[in-house]
């Protein structure tokens, strides 16, 4: 078992807690950089898509996993990002200028929606965000000047640094770079006072308030930050799809994002990547399984959403900490071997909780 001897406060602040961290994460980045040497275009495209999903997942994770606010309409932000990006590119704004504008626009949209909507809590908030998803979809259909309506909007694929977005290797590197940047940004937010305030709101609003956290402000901020990350993912998604239509940003995409964070593990940034890998490959897996199922089941059109729902329920019931939680358990098993106890992760019943303060 590794024992970290702490002699400086910086050791608690730094991202990498020990040399092992540094080694493994550098190795991971190295492998990811070298992937285009081994994989063909199809798989690179898939992994680019997973990177995009991860960025969107980070957005939703900050909102739901860390601030404890549910959102069932996050595809709206993907849509805002994608349409804004496509609109800007169509009007001749270069890629490097468009991305920051997209981030700012989605941040502001998040704040504007967040301020009224976050007066609601729990179930009501979930319903309101669900409605938000539907409203956004309709706005994308009706606001033809901006979105092209049901005809759709082709996404220009401009040259950037002398490379084209049609080149899947280049696009893969762009996505990977943005994922790494987004990851660092999220880690930085979470290790600073704002991130702690989010966690405080999740665990006890009343205590957060009495410690000086402005609930309205920080909830709106969380929504805005979440919107900014998801908007960025939307901009990249626009390049990935190449042609935007309103029905891409439907409820099913929102639920995919929700599935992503639940399967990955609520309240962990690792979870967003694990979850993205899972939901990224799941449709392929289901497509393969269809061939082996009896045709009466295999050719059913609603098979995919049904399986998504089933998996969501399965994870909430049997692995509430998600894939990342399972990974932690396996790691601890080997660290403590042979003294690991299953009870370590059992949730303790709390008898002192009540609504009285």
């Amino acid at each position: 078992m590794r024992f970290i001897f702490k002699t400086k406060y910086s050791q608690d602040i730094n991202i990498a807690k020990h040399n092992g961290d540094r080694f493994w994460y550098s190795l991971l980045i190295l492998i990811m950089t070298a992937l285009p040497l081994v994989l063909d275009d199809f798989y690179l495209g898939e992994i680019s898509y997973i990177c995009i999903l991860s960025i969107a997942g980070i957005g939703l994770m900050i909102l739901s996993g860390y601030t404890g606010l549910a959102s069932l309409g996050h595809a709206a932000f993907l849509g805002v990002g994608a349409y804004t990006h496509a609109f800007l590119l169509t009007n001749g704004i270069p890629f490097y200028a468009s991305i920051p504008i997209v981030i700012i626009v989605s941040f502001l949209v998040g704040a504007a929606i967040g301020i009224p909507i976050l007066r609601l809590t729990g179930m009501y908030l979930a319903i309101a965000t669900l409605a938000l998803g539907f409203i956004a979809e309709h706005v994308f259909i009706k606001w033809e000047h901006f979105t092209g309506g049901n005809r759709g909007l082709p996404v220009p694929q401009p040259e950037f640094l002398g490379m084209s977005f049609y080149d899947s290797v280049f696009f893969y590197y762009v996505c990977l770079l943005f994922l790494i940047a987004a990851m660092f940004a999220a880690i930085n937010i979470l290790r600073s006072p704002t991130g702690r305030a989010f966690v405080a709101i999740r665990d006890s609003e009343i205590a957060a308030q009495s410690l000086g956290v402005n609930l309205g402000l920080y909830k709106a901020l969380s929504f805005a930050i979440s919107g900014a990350f998801t908007g960025l993912a939307g901009a990249l998604l626009a390049h990935y799809i190449g042609y935007l239509a309103p029905d891409i940003f439907n409820i099913f995409l929102s639920l995919t994002l929700l599935l992503l964070i639940v399967v990955g593990g609520m309240g962990s940034l690792h979870g967003t990547v694990f979850g993205a890998i899972f939901v990224g490959f799941l449709p392929q897996l289901i497509a393969i399984c269809r061939d082996y199922l009896p045709s009466s089941i295999g050719s059913q059109p609603g098979l995919e959403p049904m399986l998504f729902g089933l998996i969501l329920v399965f994870f909430i019931l049997y692995e509430p900490l998600g894939i990342y939680g399972r990974w932690m358990k396996i790691k601890l098993f080997f660290e403590l071997f042979p003294t690991y106890k299953r009870q370590t992760f059992k949730k303790q019943k709390v008898f002192t909780k009540s609504d009285r303060v």
Binding site: P193, S204, Q209, S210, V357
Partner: protein
């Protein structure tokens, strides 16, 4: 002039008056205890002070400033910290993170400097940590820094909540039943700590408490409430021998 003053506070929930025309003052450096049977309105009083409940009538003054209209999240900035009757800790965070939240009111960084974690953000973290370490040393929490609250025994959790309140560097500390659920030894320790908070840190304390021997040991003055009204207030001996208080507790 007192440090803290409550003037004619009335809180009504529908027809029930949880507090009825309550007035008292607390001097700087005092340990002021509020006692009373269940439902007397003690916790309601605390919730009015920390602005969770809106009083129907009356005013609250802190350092000669009327705080009856202050926003709840600004109360701690004035220098009033509190603990809760039923522990309101951040369960899925470590002790250290809980305590660092106590420094939230001193936050100077904005979201941009946090996204890039600029040197100023790092410096601020160091400053937070220095104060937190002081409190950790004061309350003997060294063993628990990196433990999740989930896995801590009740007594330690109580202690962490007290520590979190101290991290805000308050002038006035509101303790809601600090000794409930503690063992005998823990209660004795708590008594010493409360005395130390008063004498070493110079913090004024208002405390709600049921354990009368503990109350008599630490308090300078006592206020007895019943059914939202003040029964008596004065020195511990006076309260002990007060006929109304005996009546409320024993029911002669």
């Amino acid at each position: 002039m007192s440090l803290f003053e409550v003037k004619n506070i009335t809180v009504a929930f529908g027809g029930v008056k949880a507090l009825n025309d309550v007035s008292f003052g607390v001097d700087k450096g005092e340990i002021f205890t509020i006692i009373g049977p269940n439902g007397a309105g003690k916790s309601t009083l605390f919730n009015v002070i920390s602005r969770i409940y809106e009083p129907s009538k009356g005013e609250i003054y802190f350092e000669n400033q009327n705080i009856s209209k202050t926003k709840p999240h600004n109360i701690s900035k004035l220098g009033i910290a509190r603990t809760f009757q039923n522990l309101e800790l951040f369960e899925n965070a470590t002790v250290l993170q809980n305590l660092l939240l106590g420094r939230h009111i001193y936050k100077k960084t904005n979201i941009l400097s946090e996204v890039f974690f600029t040197p100023s953000a790092r410096k601020q973290e160091h400053e937070y940590r220095l104060k937190v370490e002081e409190v950790i040393d004061f309350l003997d929490l060294q063993h628990y820094r990196d433990t999740l609250i989930n896995g801590l025994p009740y007594g330690v959790r109580k202690n962490v909540e007290l520590a979190r309140a101290l991290c805000t560097d308050p002038k006035l500390l509101l303790l809601d039943e600090p000794s409930s659920g503690l063992t005998n030894e823990e209660t004795i320790d708590l008594g010493f700590w409360i005395k130390d908070i008063q004498s070493l840190l110079g913090i004024t304390i208002i405390m709600i408490e049921h354990d009368m021997s503990f109350v008599n040991k630490v308090s300078d003055r006592i206020l007895a409430l019943n059914y939202g009204k003040i029964l008596a207030s004065g020195l511990p001996e006076q309260i002990k021998n007060n006929a109304d208080v005996k009546q409320a507790y024993m029911g002669e």
